[in-house]
Subunit: 336 residues, 2 copies
DNA sequence: TTGTAAGCGTTATCAC
DNA sequence: GTGATAACGCTTACAA
């Protein structure tokens, strides 16, 4: 990645510096700096500086500032899949809160890929970000460099096995239980489970929530009705097709992932099975397509935005110097 | 925004510098720099430097580098709505190409808001980005600062009225014509048009594509069937309700925006009207929900990803020093 | 090939 | 309250 030298940079006209502003305003550079950082400066000078600055189109050079102060007012947010509405809603939540405190958010898309994630983390590490919020691609994503450097890290939606950092989670198991129980209440008994690949924390938890309910009601372990697949709509479709091909197919399905839900519905539709007859209950953020989903389908949505907001709050506290031991905040799903 | 002083930064342990690496490797700092920038260094020294660097966990400080070189290998991408799949697909396209050339992409979400857009542009301007790709919130978005500074700018999906920069567009008018024509071919005659607010370039163009076809086939200007609303699903729903309440309602509708399409379908559904009877044709990216959309609905998708890829290619060329006059590239919609 | 040294534009530490 | 001045960590002439 780092092999080819940077493209020869085009000539960049210099931008006004603090020195030129100082000269024009008849003060020292230090005074200009003070004006821009809210320190005490006499009104007379302050005005002169502001005037000079706007005349010159002065814009503080953030590279210089970051170099000097070893910090910047930007938060890096690394999400796992930019095309998944759960993550974009989360991003929006982060941004709302961060912006309100004067922080900017830069978004990086790891695409669930360890390598890409690593690249972005390295890039951000080189930039003295104020903090990092991440939905880790794996539970062994390495954030030690950040911690060593004193940069706060908050993980969202998934936990980091080898790092003791703040985390924002949702109660996946309870969500899965609720969603599964709904199907039981509606009279279904052979409830299958379709969710993300084994080893994915959220998927594992949701699986176990489903299993809990099934064991309570069926008495036997319903593992033959458990299908784990790629957490995309294609994965959902394949999983559902597999289930329908079973000798004794299920009569309902709990889907533990938003996009997979779409795939499941698709598979059912092309098999000519209506969700009124065949129970479907989905745990995941489907707001973007809410009105396209047949009303017979139960959707249990996730508080993505709220999770983002919470993560931002946590990181702002850490940035402000909060030294308490790391916390895990579980955001409750809003009453439906 | 810039009023409150930065949160007092926590103490940051210093990270290894090029000097320490140099000392450990027994060379000069310049040599270390050369190793990391791919200049000729004897193998012996190069290895010593690499070894020392990894022992110290050295990571080049990008703020210092940017300060010195006045450029960085990151591209800023400002999109108008992170929750709209059109823009996220576009983002993905940009990223694919940029990453392949060793550039990182930071994503900013303007949320169609001029103020937020301005903040992000200013932020990025302070950071010596290599380039900026933007889907402007308005046609008068100010990018002059960039241009003055020699930073390449590419606009995507929308053009900038007051700046002569590279642009990547899609042929909205042709798309709208195709989509409308399809309805005519299916036998509909009173084809309405629902699209984004007046003044939005893409919406204006799509409107005129629809109008062209209608005038060709109907002979009268069908303005009473034109409804422009907020480019969200709520806007689509309201627009459709308005149309259905007309004394002589339309018998079909062309929708010039993806999310609005969902709203339109929703309104039709709750009015008990099936899209087999009432023609619906949508121009916009709906891939995320493709399988949930009734098959009777015609969807003409937009090459969002390809547009992103193209934009990235353009900006990389500019970064590399391409001095040709600005171009507008129109990306063709892929044959369906 | 390698080293020396002078900045890049800020902010922070002193004196005044 | 204000002004010199020395860093911050890197790149890059220029010398060697």
């Amino acid at each position: 990645m780092k092999d080819k030298p940077p493209v020869p940079s085009a000539h960049r006209p210099a931008r006004a510096t603090i020195y030129e502003v100082a000269t024009l305003a008849g003060v020292s550079p230090a005074t200009v700096s003070r004006v821009f950082n809210g320190f005490n400066v006499s009104a007379k000078y302050a005005n002169a500086v502001k005037k000079a600055a706007s005349e010159l189109g002065f814009r503080p050079n953030s590279a210089a500032r970051t170099l000097r102060t070893r910090t910047s007012e930007v938060i890096t947010l690394v999400i796992a899949d930019i095309e998944n509405p759960f993550f974009t809603a989360l991003a929006r939540g982060v941004e709302e809160v961060a912006r309100a405190s004067g922080y900017s958010v830069v978004l990086c898309n790891s695409d669930e890929d360890e390598e890409r994630e690593k690249t972005y983390l390295a890039m951000a590490a080189a930039q003295h970000m104020a903090g990092v919020i991440i939905t880790p691609a794996t539970d062994h994503t390495d954030v030690s460099e950040w911690l060593a450097h004193g940069t706060p890290v908050v993980s969202v939606d998934r936990t980091l096995a080898y790092a003791n950092v703040d985390a924002v989670m949702v109660d996946n198991q309870a969500g899965a239980r609720d969603a599964t129980r709904r199907l039981i209440e509606r009279g279904f008994r052979r409830v299958a489970c379709v969710t993300g690949p084994s080893g994915t924390e959220t998927a594992d938890e949701r699986t176990s929530g489903w299993r809990d309910v099934m064991l309570d009601h069926g008495g036997v372990t319903p593992e033959r009705y458990l299908v784990r697949a790629l957490a995309k709509d294609s994965g959902g479709r394949e999983a559902m097709e597999k289930l329908l091909a079973l000798p004794e197919p299920p009569d309902a399905v709990f889907v533990g992932q938003n996009l997979m839900g779409i795939g499941v519905l698709e598979a059912l539709a092309s098999a000519g099975i209506s969700p009124e007859k065949f129970g479907v209950s989905i745990l995941g953020d489907l707001s973007f397509a809410a009105t396209l989903i047949p009303p017979a389908v139960d959707v249990f949505s996730l508080p993505a935005r709220e999770m983002g907001r919470t993560a931002a709050q946590l990181i702002l506290e850490r940035i402000a110097g909060d030294k308490r031991p790391p916390r895990t905040v579980v955001v409750r799903r809003s009453a439906e």
